[in-house]
Subunit: 319 residues, 2 copies
């Protein structure tokens, strides 16, 4: 016997089940320079779902000039074979994007906000307050159409220009976003500088401020190798939604040193080792990331994919 | 301001100070195919010490035919400028190695044992019981000479041939090693499959068996990206000695998929973020790993080194 799966040893105080919010198809691909064919994107999403992922962010209805890679949002949504019980949220930067998404029948959207003024101005060309004003009608419109709205609360653990980000500011901005009607937030360590004590403290502060735990997801980057330790701290704090990207695809090209989404495979290895249910078939997921790496022409950065890539083929006789 | 250091946010129940047991010069270099000049090794060790590391495993007094890279053990030890208050342990595989080490004035040694029969036979060409018999006089001889003896307890979390490793077996082998007179053990996840609940449970079992916490170190590999989360679990269990390798150098070429020592820089980022004292100057350490990467002709695998490599130079005007 060889070890193609982690040994399961449970730990006290952790959830029985975690929802993995898969961002590879959107966050992962959006910075790819070479445009990925729509058919490949559709297959990628379908394979992720076949591997057991139940929340797969699919694309962004951003203006095509901003992110040419995702200019095929409508086509991709139309082409997707949707599975029952699976959520396929899309990012909508503004009202126009929301209308395009709703027109395609999308019923889960995500919006984006920054905790820090500098990143808000650089990324959205608006102050934080102005960004909230822009988001308000998007949230309203989505909710009126019966759609759930997730908000990415970025730079929540540090900002490359401003340095340390006070937790009170995160609580303040997050509170205002939830008050607008967002149904879920993703606490995002955009530059990956956060460490576990910071996660514990920030989640506790958010809960103390009245945001229910089940509405808080976490989005960690592996820029300094901290993502999985931060996930552990978040789980210990009661968080049950964790963002990750199949194969570790992507990052954020708007922020310095912001490479390195947490790889879904590395996350699944940890969760399954802890006896936490995810619904994911790790072997099928690894084969999907190996296939996608072939499409992109470079190996996956996921340590688990690297370790298992050979074995996944060996076990099933297929890449 | 930009973030060249983690924001410090303490967490409950963690130690105030952690001893980093640096293995880069021995475990990190031993598998390098191209022989590194003794002068470079000496500089590497001296720079690690200058960066604040206080326990730096230096080399192995193994038979030169086994590990040609470390055939210069005597020369390296003679050449080293030793700093006061710093431990420079060396690996000794057998009595002959011990005598060579003691002859050079070494007063801290490490020995190696496997929990599993298969790895013991493959790596030491002996059963576990026979390996313990071989180790016994080495421990005796070292202790008689006033030297401390650390033992690496390898395959403690899984074995690539045997699969899952029962915790009782680890406790049994570790207990026998401590009974032989070892002064410290390093609980080693040689193939990197362990997850945090496993760490918590195994440390608790060892402590329950009578091994004091302060004699238990942990040695995690990042093969599946789990090393730092496992460190967090170990710290929460009260462990205060953590092994790591500057720049993430090395792994173990005797075991399948055993690449990926935990990088010291990634560990330091976490510990400093948690407000845990290490004595390490992260910037000096990063510059050391960037310099060593230049000597080896390939970039460091440490995420923190990759993120900070540019800034370390930018800050000080030197690589």
């Amino acid at each position: 016997m060889v070890m193609y799966a982690p040994q399961e040893v449970r730990a006290d105080g952790l959830p029985d089940r975690v929802t993995i919010y898969e961002v590879g198809a959107r966050d992962g691909l959006q910075n790819e320079k070479q445009v990925v064919p729509t058919e490949v994107k559709a297959q990628f999403v379908e394979r992720l779902v076949a591997a057991g992922l139940r929340t797969v962010e699919t694309t962004s209805f951003v203006h095509p000039a901003w992110v040419p890679q995702l200019a095929d949002a409508e086509e991709l949504i139309d082409r997707l074979e949707r599975a029952p019980g699976v959520r396929y949220p899309v990012l909508v930067p503004n009202l126009k994007g929301l209308r395009r998404a709703l027109d395609r029948g999308v019923r889960d959207v995500a919006v984006f906000a920054s905790v820090t003024e500098t990143f808000s101005r650089r990324n959205l060309n608006r102050s934080v307050a102005e960004a909230l004003e822009m988001i308000a009608p998007v949230v309203d419109g989505a909710r009126s159409a019966g759609a759930g709205v997730r908000v990415y609360v970025s730079m929540a653990f540090g900002d490359p220009w401003e340095g340390e980000v006070p937790r009170e500011r995160v609580v303040d901005v997050a509170g205002r976003l939830m008050a607008l009607g967002c149904t879920e937030m993703s606490l995002s360590d955009t530059i990956g500088t956060g460490t576990p004590g910071h996660v514990t403290a920030l989640v506790a502060d958010l809960v103390d401020s009245g945001i229910p735990l089940e509405r808080i997801g976490v989005h960690f980057h592996d820029t300094y190798g901290q993502a999985l330790a931060n996930v552990l701290a978040a789980l210990q704090a009661g968080v049950t939604t964790v963002d990750s990207s199949a194969g570790g695809l992507g990052g954020c090209n708007f922020a310095e040193s912001a490479t390195g989404n947490l790889a879904t495979e590395d996350l699944v290895w940890q969760l399954h080792g802890l006896g936490i249910e995810t619904g994911v078939d790790l072997d099928a997921l690894v084969r999907t990331s190996v296939w996608m790496a072939g499409q992109l022409g470079r190996p996956s950065v996921s340590r688990t994919v690297q370790a298992l890539a050979g074995t996944a083929g060996r076990q099933r006789g297929a890449a």
